[in-house]
Symmetry: C2
Subunit: 192 residues, 2 copies
């Protein structure tokens, strides 16, 4: 490990809090209680909240996109790729009390109240996801398992927005069960 355990524990706690409550409702005090060390010690690892946020987004990007790239590498059927990609969002929703959304979906709402580095990180995350999705959709159309007439990059953007939006909406009503229904509908639309 090049990362100290404490640093990782802080990032874990911050991610959990932000995915449930949002960045502006998460404080160093909350982190202190969750990790079991004092506020000042959190500041030792992440001097300013912006630093913590930027590090968190970068870690999340690597983790999430890493999973996506593995899916693309492991599967040969584009329909299976899409299923497993959607499964990543559902898995997030399933964690803990079923009230977690995608980290960058949450931060997207609070975008205008965040610093530049965080905003750039969120943008990069959105773009990386849409690139991977466009690749999956293109392969699927070529293989005849997806049917759509427009630009794959645009449909990728719509698909990503729908998944991010679905996670947020179903937290208010319907939960994981509802998310699955919406995801099934999305797959149906893709199949043409």
């Amino acid at each position: 490990m090049s990362e100290s355990d404490t640093r990782t524990l802080i990032l874990d706690a911050a991610q959990d809090l932000i995915q449930r409550l949002g960045a502006n409702a998460m404080s160093y005090q909350h982190l202190s209680e969750a990790v079991g060390i004092r506020k000042a010690s959190i500041h030792y690892h992440f001097p300013a909240k912006q630093d913590l946020l930027a590090a968190l987004i970068e870690r999340y990007h690597g983790y999430f996109i890493g999973l996506v790239d593995r899916i693309i590498a492991e599967e040969s059927d584009p329909a299976r790729m899409l299923d497993r990609y959607i499964g990543l969002f559902e898995a997030t929703l399933r964690e803990g009390k079923h009230d977690k959304a995608c980290l960058c979906g949450m931060l997207g709402a609070e975008l205008a109240s965040l610093g530049d580095e965080a905003v750039r990180g969120i943008r990069r995350f959105y773009q990386a996801n849409q690139e991977r999705l466009a690749s999956i959709l293109t392969r699927g159309r070529d293989a005849g398992v997806f049917r759509f007439s427009g630009d794959p990059a645009t449909l990728a953007g719509l698909t990503f927005a729908a998944l991010e939006g679905a996670v947020l909406v179903v937290r208010a009503e319907g939960g994981v069960r509802r998310f699955r229904a919406l995801a099934d509908e999305l797959r149906r639309l893709m199949a043409g």
Copy 2:
């Protein structure tokens, strides 16, 4: 007017701030500066932040669903209804500096940090929208202008989630132009 002007001005300022920054980044101090009266005067109209939030959501519900119902009443072509419904989200994005999202889309992200009354209001708003959309989709399918195989209520949920998500995502990258592209793609999928 049964509402005092000040009360309306406060609600206007609060809505603007929340649509851009989120509820947790909006404060009575910000409102005070925006409206031009003191913090204590804001508290006279809305004793607690929860009261302000609940009133705001209720007003937004009436305003937005009112527009939707008018669209449904005025149009005979379901495709036109959907276009104009989508136009409501685009119009929000077009306001001011093009950085406003749907009020309840923003609040959905911060849901777990809000009070019960606000949460109920947000849920009601989501449901009302999905009901209207389901009605539009059903008429469209019966008229042969939309083609889909699943339950209209489920496709309505996916459509609503996609629009809410799209507004949030395009604020980070692409703006109104990108939103229109995603919306066009959505219409294309509906047309089958």
